[in-house]
């Protein structure tokens, strides 16, 4: 799908569903930054969720995996999410609430300004599945 066409919100749900069906991920989600002040970043579209906690999470730029991707605009992956504690810099609420062991996140870049407007994240709950740069590449091809 061409990024220019991604203006209809439900397109993201399609992408999320697509990835969830085609790949082996246990959880796929898209978080977007609101265009209105105070520009909160929240999980808007998910697949494979085990509960509704994601709706209450408000992401903070710079903190957690998604927060880091939003701030840096670079993909990020981690295979040992369990080691982070609640007070850690890289603590990610979505991994905790969805019990993800490993996750990969890529930025969703606005075609107009080339700036990050959100993040696409996918992860595994079992610890024998690893993520890598390759996984990040595969994931970004869906965007």
């Amino acid at each position: 799908m061409n990024p220019e066409q991604l203006n209809n919100p439900s397109d993201y749900q399609l992408i999320v569903n697509n990835i969830y069906q085609n790949e082996q991920f246990d959880f796929v989600g898209v978080a977007l930054q609101s265009t209105k002040s105070p520009h909160l970043i929240k999980w808007k579209f998910v697949a494979g969720n085990t509960n509704e906690k994601f709706r209450k999470i408000v992401l903070r730029s710079g903190i957690g995996i998604a927060g880091l991707v939003v701030r840096t605009g670079k993909p990020f992956w981690d295979n040992d999410l369990n080691r982070y504690e609640y007070s850690d810099e890289m603590y990610t609420p979505i991994a905790k609430s969805e019990l993800l062991q490993s996750a990969v996140a890529v930025p969703i870049i606005s075609p107009l300004t080339k700036l990050v407007r959100g993040v696409l994240l996918a992860g595994y709950r079992s610890n024998n599945k690893q993520v890598s740069e390759q996984t990040a590449l595969t994931l970004s091809q869906y965007l």
Binding site: I57, S61, Y86, S97
Partner: protein, 340 residues
């Protein structure tokens, strides 16, 4: 030589432990403390000998089947916990130390050490550990604030500056300009939020300006956003009669308890109840998480303040602190303070 003997005599005489020396199970020598004790408690030294004797037999008995007895056999001393003046309103707890002086002549000593003194030593050691911990926590906190300032705030301001620089490029269309300004605004907004959150972490100003309930609501909202766990606050807002100290303690306990529930309990819902009555106020933090074995976590482990610190803080202001938890049944933390 004569002098040293005199010193030893003085030490024996003035020792705060009651020392008695026996030969062939008969008392032949005792110091002032031992004499005082015997007089005041109407204590028969033979009773002490019997206690010592039975405990020696117990320890050396081969039928005891205990592995550590092998080690104990090598010990010259045996210490026995003993309570004197049991029937009086304030029983006295002692350690009685049985020490063989001359096995051939059958001379041995019994020393009564006040257990209160030993407990006090324990307390002092504990206190020392606590002070160390507080110092370390203080430094850690400063490090965290410094890192936050550097990593988040400075970084946020820096990216906003970069964004403004990009605006100077005039080739943007109206649409592009619009999005770019939105981004810069949101960067500044993030930074503002972070500054506010840092301020809130360090000391909640809401607590000073709007009272405990408002502060708890702000705290709950923020932690809910950070975790996705539903956190409800309910209560009546009548906290005016409370001193600032007690409000702070209640706030910190709520904070610590919610953090614990988020960290360890995997809770779905946390409820905070703050109810003020005529002469007391109660705070309850209830979660539906995994629960835990309370006694295991009650002692100070040197690393985290946790439960012991909460308890200490509450005790300082004559409050009561209670944790109810069972594995699989969630946890309820209850704090109660009297109000004038």
């Amino acid at each position: 030589m004569l002098e040293t003997t005199q010193w030893i005599n003085e030490y024996f005489k003035d020792s705060s432990d009651a020392i008695m020396i026996f030969k062939d199970d008969d008392l032949i020598l005792s110091n002032q403390m031992a004499k005082d004790l015997r007089r005041e408690l109407n204590l028969n030294p033979q009773y002490l000998v019997e206690v010592a004797d039975s405990s020696v037999k117990q320890k050396f008995s081969p039928t005891d089947n205990c592995f550590s007895c092998i080690i104990q056999n090598k010990m010259k001393e045996i210490s026995i916990p003993i309570t004197l003046a049991k029937k009086m309103p304030h029983p006295l707890n002692y350690f009685m130390i049985y020490n063989i002086i001359d096995p051939e002549e059958k001379v041995f000593s019994l020393t009564l050490k006040n257990r209160g003194t030993i407990d006090r030593m324990d307390q002092l050691a504990q206190q020392k550990k606590l002070t160390q911990y507080v110092n370390r926590a203080y430094e850690k906190e400063r490090k965290r604030i410094s890192e936050d300032l550097h990593d988040s705030i400075a970084q946020g301001v820096y990216s906003a500056i970069m964004g403004v620089r990009r605006l100077e490029n005039n080739q943007f269309s109206v649409e592009e300009l619009d999005e770019l300004t939105t981004v810069i605004e949101s960067q500044l907004n993030d930074t503002l939020t972070e500054v506010k959150e840092m301020a809130l972490d360090i000391r909640p100003s809401v607590l000073d300006n709007f009272g405990l309930l408002a502060a708890l609501k702000v705290l709950a909202k923020r932690l809910q956003e950070n975790s996705g766990v539903t956190i409800n606050v309910a209560g009546n807002a009548n906290t005016e009669k409370l001193s600032n100290d007690i409000q702070s303690v209640l706030y910190r306990i709520a904070q610590e308890s919610i953090n614990n529930a988020l960290k360890h309990a995997d809770a779905d819902e946390i409820t905070i109840l703050l109810v003020a009555h005529d002469h007391y106020i109660t705070l309850e933090i209830i979660d539906d998480g995994d629960g835990f074995d309370v006694p295991k976590h009650q002692r100070f482990n040197g690393k985290s303040m946790g439960l012991m610190n909460m308890n200490e803080r509450v005790k300082m202001f004559n409050g009561a602190f209670k944790i109810n938890s069972k594995s699989g049944e969630g946890t309820t933390v209850t704090v109660k303070f009297p109000i004038v």
